[in-house]
């Protein structure tokens, strides 16, 4: 909003030639420039979202069929009488816990280690960031091969090391599958958290840490009493992004486990998708979607608040 460049000047110059028509021309130019985006975004993004909101209070069954108004029945059922959704929500909670705690702590540590000019620094960074650009399809197939219980690389390596007793059915074991999914997603998205932490670290002036060192603080003290407190807003942002990532988590489960075995890896988002696409319960799926949209709006609000704090830090 800093530089507002009003179209007035152009209007006034042309106004000399013809007064009102030019002004109207300037206004229509605004609409002409905006129209393609509004049209595409309106038809293919906004309208579908509005349809979801409208359908959330109906019992719409399939993509075309009749539907009638059911008020808040869908929401009541979601919160009181849907064991599958409860299971998916609990799984999402476990998933979120690991994404939030493990991924954030690891990413922070790695960012601190990387935050220094050093030999191989670029290579390290590239390796941590690379998985971000790879397609979920590629990620899932690679990890499926690694997880394969008989010929997969993880179990084979364990057997070669004489640790065959640790070999597992990583994706087929009811108690283990969710953690395998979490591992894949931390691997593929930790680079993103590191990017944010490194951007935050780069805003801490070198003089500050230098001064501490001169005063006799060792590396641990500098980290504990200077870096970590100064990184609080950035950390908050990373945490919010982790919550966001957990609420959106979809691809790995959809492509790798389909929610199985026995619902062990079902997440909120895959539940919404299955309810809508596999069971054609469009109305009910829409209610689930509305709940997560509300949650995401809340997360976005928090994110904005932390952003302005990060901004102030700079």
């Amino acid at each position: 909003m800093a530089v507002q460049t009003p179209s007035r000047p152009s209007v006034s110059i042309r106004a000399g030639a013809g007064g009102r028509p030019a002004r109207r021309g300037a206004r229509s130019q605004f609409w002409i420039a905006l129209a393609p985006a509004l049209l595409l975004y309106g038809v293919f993004t906004l309208w579908p979202i509005i349809e979801v909101v409208l359908a959330s209070v109906t019992d719409a069954r399939d993509l075309t069929g009749e539907s009638s108004f059911v008020g808040v029945d869908n929401f009541m059922r979601m919160f009181t009488d849907d064991p599958d959704l409860l299971n998916a929500t609990v799984n999402t909670g476990i998933y979120a816990f690991f994404r939030i705690v493990v991924q954030t702590v690891l990413a922070f540590g790695i960012a601190v280690l990387l935050n220094k000019k050093m030999a191989l620094g670029n290579v390290y960074r590239a390796i941590f960031f690379a998985p971000i650009v790879i397609s979920p399809v590629a990620i899932v197939f690679t990890w499926s091969f690694m997880f394969d219980p008989t010929s997969g690389t993880i179990n084979t390596t364990l057997r070669d090391l004489g640790l065959g007793s640790l070999a597992q059915d990583w994706l087929g074991d009811f108690d283990l599958a969710l953690y395998s999914v979490i591992l894949v997603d931390i691997w593929s998205s930790i680079g993103f958290s590191i990017v944010i932490f490194m951007a935050g670290l780069s805003t801490i002036p070198a003089e500050v840490t230098e001064a501490a060192r001169v005063d006799g603080a060792n590396a641990w003290h500098t980290l504990r009493h200077i870096t970590i407190p100064l990184m609080r807003p950035t950390t908050a942002l990373v945490l919010v992004l982790a919550v966001n990532g957990a609420l959106r988590a979809f691809d790995t489960v959809y492509l790798m486990t389909k929610g199985g075995p026995g619902g062990a890896t079902e997440l909120y988002m895959t539940r919404v998708f299955d309810e809508g696409f596999a069971y054609n319960h469009f109305g009910y799926a829409s209610s689930m979607a509305v709940v997560v949209i509300v949650a995401l709006v809340g997360v976005a609000y928090l994110q904005n608040r932390f952003d302005s704090q990060v901004g102030k830090g700079r």
């Binding site: 605004f30 293919f44 993004t45 979202i49 191989l120 941590f128 960031f129 650009v133 942002l237």
Partner: protein, 276 residues
């Protein structure tokens, strides 16, 4: 002496980073190494270096999986979506930046709000819209969905850049008689180039990598993209991991190469998207 001490002091840091990097790079290595092994060698030697490295998988996968057309389809869909959406988003960003007052910022908010909406949630009504327009199984439908999904991030990035363009440039151009669209094409669009590069890198990769839209909206096998092509290929060649990994490498190599050359745009783009 001094360098030796320096080395000794930084050794623990390097040690930790090397161990972590080894864990991070392991799946990528497995992807690559497996693609160079014959299907029989994969079963006998899944973990080690290929004893008799072969590019045979790439040949058979490319031919049997019809990867030539898949590659062309992915490239065409990505390029068309990016070219059109860049223009559409830049024009919209220009409009909201140059419009003083509430109307400009209201439309900005409306367009940029789409960044945080996960489209899997709305994909059923989206499917319905595309079908009622008769665009199921056509690239027009897929491209439209991609463009509408890319607009919010594009408007956000480009508007941020266009706001920095000094007022004096605009005033000088106005005095020279430059019209509204002339000023867009001659000043605002070219000056937004860094934002546009970031946008291409981030959105281009995400469209190239997307599987859900072509998976649901295209049924004709000849219209498949690399991602959906590899998905179907896997269903057909269940445990031929050598061939499957060759497909995975073919699909990932372009984005990895792009990443190597445009790393800083990725980093700035990811950061910008996070602190929207």
């Amino acid at each position: 002496m001094n360098t030796a001490r320096k080395l000794a002091r930084s050794a623990p840091r390097h040690l930790v980073l090397i161990v972590l990097c080894a864990a991070m790079v392991y799946p990528l290595l497995i992807m690559l190494l497996t693609s160079l092994k014959s299907n029989t060698e994969v079963l006998q030697n899944p973990t080690g270096l290929p004893l008799s490295p072969t590019l045979g998988n790439f040949l058979t996968t490319w031919v049997q999986g019809d990867f030539g057309p898949l590659f062309v389809n992915s490239l065409a869909l990505t390029l068309i979506s990016m070219v059109v959406s860049t223009l559409v988003a830049a024009l919209a960003a220009y409009a909201v930046v140059r419009k003083a007052g509430r109307l400009g910022s209201a439309f900005y908010m409306l367009l940029a709000a789409g960044i945080f909406l996960p489209m899997q949630l709305a994909i059923i009504p989206q499917f319905r819209v595309v079908r009622s327009l008769g665009l199921i199984d056509s690239y027009a439908g897929v491209v439209a969905v991609y463009i509408s999904g890319a607009i919010p991030f594009g408007v956000f990035l480009m508007a941020a850049f266009m706001r920095q363009i000094p007022r004096e440039i605009v005033e000088a151009a106005t005095i020279d008689g430059a019209g509204y669209f002339h000023m867009f094409f001659r000043i605002f669009f070219p000056l937004s180039r860094p934002a546009i590069v970031t946008y291409w890198v981030i959105m281009g990769v995400s469209i190239w990598n997307d599987y859900l839209v072509p998976y649901l909206f295209l049924t004709d096998p000849t219209k498949r993209t690399l991602t959906t092509g590899v998905l179907y290929f896997k269903q057909q060649y269940l445990a031929d991991w050598g061939n499957i990994m060759a497909g995975v490498v073919i699909m990932s190599l372009p984005v990895l190469l792009l990443f190597v050359f445009a790393q800083r745009y990725f980093v700035s783009g990811l950061y910008a998207g996070a602190v929207k």
